[in-house]
């Protein structure tokens, strides 16, 4: 056997660092006992490793020493078995804490993201809410004006079978003959259709005009054509531009 070759094969380092296989270890130990050069090489590497490790020492916390001395006991007895289980659970528990801490960081990041998202959503909703509130206040003001007027009569128009949920209100000033329509709830008409308001007098429909506005976006209370007299009001869905007499389906109707 060429000893120099064996020494420089890396087996010495592999043995010292604990990376050699059992077979390699046994062989190395045998050769070490036989050849002083191998032993010398081993010790030289061990000393170099030790020196290197001491130079790069990281000091653990000071209380660790106390913890260790507590564990080994003042009489120097071998630590009882149950300590082993404690020993084994501690790293687990700490690791659990580590994962928990990591989870907290993730949750915090997620929470911050949600905060920003929700804050943006909130701003949008606030804007939309403010607009709606302004519109509502305007309508309320109009209605109050109408209601404070002793000449105003009101007709609540209920939905017909074709659209039972539909609902609209007509305010009619008997003195000035002004007619205001509040479209409380009417389905959005198709593009080629429009709602038309009628006054009914002596069983005859009188045209009070078209609802020209977008039911969803615009002001809910609109002024219609004047009505000289009326017993009831109704809304039908007509072709765009309307008809002199109602042709389409009646959506709502109500008596004064």
């Amino acid at each position: 056997m060429n000893i120099q070759e064996y020494i420089s094969s890396g087996i010495t380092e592999s043995y010292v660092l604990g990376l050699a296989s059992d077979e390699e270890r046994r062989e190395f130990e045998k050769i070490c006992a036989q050849y002083p050069e191998v032993l010398q090489a081993r010790i030289a590497f061990e000393l170099a490793l030790e020196k290197q490790a001491l130079e790069n020492a990281i000091n653990p916390t000071t209380e660790l020493k106390d913890r260790i001395f507590e564990r080994i006991g003042s009489t120097g007895k071998i630590v009882p078995l149950q300590d082993t289980s404690i020993k084994n659970t501690q790293p687990g528990a700490l690791l659990w804490l580590k994962y928990a801490a990591a989870a907290c960081v993730v949750l915090l990041a997620g929470s911050l993201y949600m905060n920003i998202t929700l804050s943006n959503k909130n701003k949008k909703l606030k804007g939309s809410y403010d607009n709606t509130l302004a519109e509502l206040n305007e309508v309320k003001k109009d209605i109050r004006v109408l209601q404070q007027n002793p000449n105003i009569k009101m007709a609540s128009m209920k939905g017909m079978d074709i659209s039972p949920k539909s609902y609209a209100t007509v305010y009619w000033d008997t003195a000035s003959h002004d007619v205001y329509l509040l479209a409380n709830n009417l389905p959005v008409p198709p593009n080629d259709k429009q709602y038309q308001l009628w006054a009914l007098l002596d069983g005859k429909p009188i045209d009070l005009g078209m609802l020209n506005y977008d039911l969803k976006q615009k002001k809910l209370l609109v002024r219609m054509k004047n009505a000289q007299g009326a017993e009831a009001f109704a809304i039908t869905l007509e072709n765009k531009g309307g008809n002199p007499t109602p042709q389409g389906a009646m959506y709502v109707m109500g008596k004064l």
Binding site: L49, E50, K51, Q52, P60, P91, L94
Partner: protein, 179 residues
Amino acid sequence: MNLNTTYSEQELVALLQQRNEKAFSYLYDNYSGALYGIVNAVVTDKEVANDVLQNVFINIWRKIESYDASKGRLFTWMLNIARNAAIDELRSKGYNNALKNISLPEINEIEGAVTGPAIDDVGLKKVLGKLKGELRVLVDMSYFQGFTHEEIARSLDIPLGTVKTRIRSALTQLRTMIQ
């Protein structure tokens, strides 16, 4: 016994085998930092490293009878206890996942990227940083992560003989670096 007491290695071992606490205290004061270094290189988490180091010293205290001076120096024996304890801790959590995640492209990436050690690498890991990419990976996998040569060969799809030769070659380079 005054504070400046120093022991020869033989004295120290003899006293430890008699369960002499002063000798154990001396051992701790002189070697805990060096052993903590190796534990930290493996487990990286400080809290876990503390617990591992605690177990290392308890194991040293318990197993000192089994220390055989003919097989190596006391520090070598302790270093191996420390490394094994750290790797056991590493293996107990996500070991299999770690193995699955290693592939050859990763080696190529490392080979291209590594020009020096990362800032937080200390001790042996710092020395390791001076190795060429692939050798560094092999030493890291075997020494710091505790994979067997067979596992490394399988996961990197390299013949077992090649793994052994390359690790040996890396270790001889390490030797010249620390001497």
